[in-house]
């Protein structure tokens, strides 16, 4: 059918949180904190979480989409922490799976800085986006998207 594909990409998100650095960092560094916000949102249900926050430790989050287009699909996030400098920097690699298919493998860098009473956070993610999306449905959607873009380019 189709050959394997790999796309490399990088992006950065800068975000300012109206909370002290220690709190923001704790939301990444503690299981209680991170489980409060990290996941797929309301349409997604966690099934299993493991949080071993130390260099060489893994964070593992397995869940399922309960609603929407991807309903029933199993998601797996598996991260390996490579650098932890408290309240300064966290670096980890992670891979994402969707129903057993490999979607991406990434390097994520989180940089924390106090800005008065607030906290500035910079996330940089560099990754390899893999061919895991290429199922029949994905191909159909891809073709529709393609046509939409073609139409736009012609218009």
């Amino acid at each position: 059918m189709s050959s394997l594909s790999t796309q490399h990409a990088t992006f950065t998100i800068d975000r300012k949180f109206d909370a002290p650095l220690a709190w923001v960092y704790a939301a990444f560094a503690t299981e209680a904190g991170k489980s409060r916000w990290f996941g797929g949102g309301e349409k997604w249900q966690p099934i299993e979480r493991r949080f071993d926050f130390r260099v060489g430790g893994h964070e593992y989050v397995k869940g399922r989409w309960m609603e929407g287009e991807q309903k029933g699909a199993l998601t797996v996030f598996d991260a390996l922490y490579l650098e932890i400098l408290p309240e300064q920097r966290i670096i980890y690699t992670y891979d994402m799976q969707h129903d057993g298919r490999h979607l991406s493998i990434s390097l994520a860098t989180l940089e924390f800085a106090a800005a008065g009473a607030a906290t500035e956070l910079r996330l940089t993610e560099q990754g390899a986006f893999l061919d895991g999306y290429d199922d029949a449905g994905g191909r159909e959607r891809g073709t529709r998207e393609l046509m939409g873009r073609l139409a736009a380019s012609l218009g």
């Binding site: 189709s2 796309q7 490399h8 975000r15 909370a19 709190w23 916000w37 993610e125 990754g127 891809g142």
Partner: protein, 114 residues
């Protein structure tokens, strides 16, 4: 596939005949003859366009000796941009939840003060 596959994709798309060929293939497989029909150009010219599209990964061709049907491949246009958009959106949603959680924490600690 190299990072610069995007350049190959866009240069292949920068031609109205090739875009028309892709539009035709979006509705199903077709032979070179079928693809050539609507155009006032020679079969070899159509074949050259197909080679460009194939090189860019936008189409694939059957391996039958006589009839090599052309098929559209959407994958190259699911570019790195798509990946960035998806991952970025996921992070933004997570960070929105983090901001709410931090706000709740702030309220809770305010409440604890005498």
């Amino acid at each position: 596939m190299q990072t610069d596959s995007l350049s190959a994709t866009f240069s292949a798309l920068a031609d109205p005949t090739r875009r028309a060929i892709l539009a035709r293939l979006a509705s199903g497989e077709a032979s070179v003859q079928e693809l050539a029909e609507p155009f006032d150009i020679s079969l070899p010219a159509v074949s050259r366009h197909l080679k460009v599209l194939e090189h860019a990964g936008l189409i694939s061709r059957g391996r039958h000796a006589q009839w090599r049907p052309c098929r559209i491949e959407a994958e190259p246009l699911r570019t790195a941009q798509d990946w960035i958009a998806e991952r970025r959106a996921a992070w933004e949603q997570n960070f929105d939840r983090l901001a709410s959680y931090l706000a709740e924490t702030a309220c809770a600690s305010e409440g604890e003060k005498p």
